[in-house]
């Protein structure tokens, strides 16, 4: 057989069986499209690329809820007031991103195509752990940029179709900039406001939430994060811009509509009028 190269046909890389990874295919065939393959700048760029965020995720019996605020900051400027930071990764998982906005969104886009590509080539979806690992590989590839201040820190959550106990099918994974992957229990938060969100989640989370309760808990914790961190945006009641709140259950990924989130936000804000610190936790 002659070599599969030359004009007039798809290059051999297209027709070769073996790899079901879109990112690997890009690496061989079109490496310039990979997010990690850039030359890091000489000096750090922390104030010039949009970043700053809070993403929260929590499990409940039957799935996970993930929510993210809508603010992108560049230094002390609000670069965008309605940026979306929580996305579906595929039918049964979602990802929220903190860090440099442009690179993060590109990485999410690549991740979405990676998962769908695998499913189409192989004819089967990846396991939840497999998806979490692919994301870790992408973060690892971004280490050079991360060291220069353009880090991407995702929070990955999904519904594990292979789970034996359906009450524990919702799973969370966090990452560090080196690409380390850590499974989290109960709840987690990433971003500049994550410390404050985690404090709120610690007091509010219970193991018997319904999906509605879990969404309310997420919105409460985001409100507390926005209360303390200028880089996290609270709900914009005048423009009706609310956090993105999504659930992943056995029915798949679903982003709550603006009306649904609006109703939750309105109830939270009304209660805060009476008690600005939020629902009081018992001392004992």
């Amino acid at each position: 057989m002659t070599q599969h190269t030359g004009p007039g046909r798809l290059p051999a890389a297209y027709l070769t069986p073996g790899s079901a990874s879109f990112a690997e295919f890009l690496g061989e065939h079109a490496p310039e499209l990979l997010p990690g393959r850039r030359t890091p700048p000489v000096t750090a760029l922390t104030t010039e690329a949009p970043h700053g965020t809070t993403i929260v995720a929590l499990t409940f019996p039957g799935g996970v809820v993930m929510a993210g605020d809508r603010r992108a900051t560049m230094g002390n400027y609000i670069a965008q007031r309605d940026i979306e930071k929580v996305f579906h990764a595929d039918e049964y998982s979602c990802v929220g991103i903190a860090g440099a906005a442009g690179i993060a969104i590109e990485m999410v886009r690549l991740f979405q195509v990676e998962l769908e590509h695998y499913e189409k080539i192989e004819g089967a979806t990846l396991s939840l752990e497999g998806k979490a690992n692919r994301l870790a590989l992408m973060i690892r590839g971004n280490l050079g940029m991360a060291m220069q201040g353009m880090a991407v820190v995702p929070l990955f959550a999904g519904y594990d179709l292979d789970a034996t106990d359906l009450a524990l099918a919702g799973r969370l994974f966090s990452y560090d900039v080196t690409g380390g992957r850590y499974e989290e229990q109960k709840f987690h938060s990433v971003g500049s406001g994550s410390l404050f969100a985690r404090g709120a989640l610690k007091k509010l989370w219970r193991d018997d939430f319904s999906a509605e309760d879990a969404a309310l808990c997420a919105v409460q914790s985001l409100y507390d994060a926005a209360d303390e961190d200028s880089a996290t945006g609270g709900p914009d009641l005048t423009r009706r811009i609310f956090p993105v709140v999504s659930t992943v259950t056995s029915d798949g990924y679903r982003r709550l509509s603006d009306d649904e989130v609006g109703a939750v936000v309105d109830s939270v804000v009304a209660a805060r009028m009476e008690s600005p610190g939020g629902p009081q936790a018992p001392l004992r």
């Binding site: 798809l10 297209y14 879109f22 979306e84 886009r109 690549l110 769908e116 189409k120 798949g252």
Partner: protein, 272 residues
């Protein structure tokens, strides 16, 4: 490759290759592609649950093939990679069936002339549109010819016989059940003897490109769904449906792309 003794004219060489490819394709089972009112239907006689003749390429585009499995499987993977790469580097809307058909035609044509053996494959690339008028069905043959078909395509061993029958029986806007039962009947008919086999749901690989689905239009019909549409009892399936045979996907939001609000019946697999 050893050259035969004496001179062989280029016409003869090409004719030999074409005959070789046609024989290879005629040996295999057939695949029927039919447009129906809700989209485009693909029906293949296929006993294997692992090896597919009909597959998803992209949001609105599907691939169906007959012939040598490893050859059309390579082309299928190439098509998925090409489509994902184009959709990623431009936008998802910029991936078209026509572009894909062109790329396949180039590849098949070059393989036919340059390689020592042509690909023994025949392929359909179908794209479902917003309306039935926008549907596109392209048939590609082993030598890289592309034909823009309307309404239906039949390929494989009984391809010609099925095409003749469909020319009389096809009409635009058929409901799914009628299109399916017609295709299954014609696939089960032996062109040489006229003997009619009744194909069961487990002997078929059936998929649709459904106009009404959000974003990803491709859907495989499970054996249980097929049995229902063909009027076959579920007990005849002989095996419980696999729990991982999920048919439908809920609407999805794409990073940096268009947002599709969740529909009231998202995730439901009812209502074909």
């Amino acid at each position: 490759m050893t050259m035969p003794f004496g001179y062989v004219s280029p016409e003869q060489v090409m004719k030999d290759r074409a005959d070789y490819a046609r024989k290879g394709i005629a040996r295999g089972r057939s695949v029927v592609v039919i447009a129906y009112d809700g989209g485009i239907l693909f029906v293949a006689e296929n006993l294997s649950r692992a090896l597919h003749k009909v597959s998803e390429i992209y949001d609105r585009i599907a691939f169906a093939a007959v012939g040598k499995y490893n050859e059309f499987e390579n082309l299928r993977m190439a098509g998925v990679r090409y489509a994902d790469l184009r959709g990623y580097s431009y936008d998802r809307q910029d991936v078209t069936g026509r572009g894909l058909a062109n790329v396949f035609a180039q590849t098949l044509g070059t393989i036919f002339t340059v390689e020592s053996k042509p690909y023994e494959v025949e392929i359909v690339i179908a794209e479902v549109g917003e309306t039935a008028d926008d549907d596109q069905i392209y048939r590609l043959t082993y030598d890289g010819s592309v034909a823009d078909e309307h309404g239906f395509v039949a390929m494989g061993g009984s391809g010609e016989a099925i095409t003749t029958s469909l020319q009389e029986r096809y009409r635009d806007g058929m409901p799914l059940q009628e299109a399916l039962t017609t295709a299954v009947e014609l696939l089960g008919r032996d062109p040489a003897t006229g003997e009619q086999r009744s194909l069961t749901a487990t002997q078929l690989e059936v998929a649709v490109l459904e106009r009404g689905r959000p974003r990803r239009k491709f859907r495989r019909l499970s054996a249980a769904t097929l049995a229902g549409l063909l009027g076959q009892p579920l007990e005849s399936l002989g095996q419980p449906p696999r729990p991982d045979e999920r048919e439908s996907a809920p609407p999805t939001t794409l990073a940096g792309g268009s947002h599709e609000p969740p529909g009231p019946d998202s995730g439901s697999s009812e209502g074909e």
